[in-house]
Symmetry: C2
Subunit: 210 residues, 2 copies
DNA sequence: AGGTCTAAATTTAGGCATGAACGTACTCCG
DNA sequence: CGGAGTACGTTCATGCCTAAATTTAGACCT
């Protein structure tokens, strides 16, 4: 997605050769394909000694990976006539199991998006016949959202593709590395969630990825 | 974020009690504050045996963490009269060192956003007097973007806050754990970038975080 | 030398998210 | 019992991004 316009053509494949002859000089180790993250912290240190760079080693790649995975998923889904937000919604309902019904309140909590966003997601999905909406009997103004057959089918048709693709992208890491990484991320997530969510009720989770 | 409307009130503290009396039954270990990621893979397995869930342990927390860090950063910056996209732009220029000038082409590559997004970011920043734009002498239609003094000051005023805050959020992990995590993320990032970017020139990096 | 090709930036259209204002249906207390 | 509170879903304005169309400036070939 750092891609410019121009569809899927051969694009600028003839790109790297004449790369270092431009504006440079202010750029250090540029042109090297894999210079990456370390360079960012180093640049801050060089330009602004004392900058608290300790977080960069974790946060930057985290960010980039999320962006890369997200963009990739979007592309996969667009090709299948689907979009990320809708799949997220449908997946949460699908995963919940029969009767595939949840309140918008829970949907918000499990999707990690705002209540307003859920309202809009559900409205779109309802317009497309993928879910239905009806008043619930529980709390005050509660609303129950239920997956339709069409919605059910849409999930079945795309989930494996998306998850399979992601597994493929993780293929560069060994099973142990993946496990180790998953463990550390889980640990960090729990801690961060406690620090933020604690007094801010990001309470539940159950998010995005499928 | 996952908050509804209505300011900062005590919100739904009285929430968990009457939670299981609604739609549930299809919800397993719900209500538990920290049920999290494992539950997602388990739910897929239960509902749809054979679903390729192997990636979930890594991708889901990755995603959630990026969202949490991103939202938090946005809040910090909003309070300071700044926004994430602009700080990203200014930071890249600041880090590049004197003369704090880069082409839009490079800005796009280093920010991991589309060319159109860069155009808009620069236009906004220029309108606010944070950067200037002028034709370059290099390639055909190249444009040089340079940080103004005002832009320079804006970076100085916010970077430490943002980075400091992030370091704080990482505080739950020991230095070794952070390092280990950083290493695995770096490894994965390099590999993913190769798989995607290789034939698609997400070539450069140098992204977001600060 | 001139026409065509190519690559880069910008513009435009559309999607989705946040946050704040609303409307409203229970709850709880006097 | 009745009125204020309060929690929840929706609506609205705004922001940012992607993808596609558009504009334009050099490069290359004959």
């Amino acid at each position: 997605m750092a891609r410019a316009a121009g569809g899927d053509g051969p694009a600028d494949g003839t790109d790297s050769p004449n790369r270092t002859d431009r504006t440079d000089g202010a750029d250090g180790a540029e042109g090297v394909p894999g210079h990456a993250v370390e360079e960012i912290a180093a640049a801050w240190q060089r330009e602004r000694p004392g900058t608290p760079v300790s977080s960069i080693g974790v946060v930057t790649p985290l960010w980039q990976l999320a962006k890369l995975f997200g963009d990739d998923r979007r592309r996969v889904l667009t090709a299948a006539g689907m979009d990320v937000a809708t799949l997220d919604l449908l997946s949460v309902l699908r995963r919940a199991g029969s009767p595939y019904t949840l309140t918008t309140r829970e949907l918000a909590a499990r999707s990690l998006v705002s209540a307003g966003a859920v309202s809009q997601r559900v409205a779109r999905a309802e317009r497309d016949g993928l879910v239905t909406r009806r008043p619930g009997t529980g709390r005050p103004r509660s609303v129950l959202v239920e997956l339709t057959d069409a919605g059910h089918q849409r999930v079945e048709a795309t989930v494996d593709d998306v998850l399979g693709r992601e597994a493929e992208l993780l293929g560069g890491l060994s099973a142990e590395q993946q496990e180790q990484l998953a463990g550390l991320l889980r640990l960090l997530l729990a801690d961060v969630r406690r620090r933020l969510g604690d007094d801010e009720r990001l309470t539940q989770v159950g998010l995005l990825p499928q």
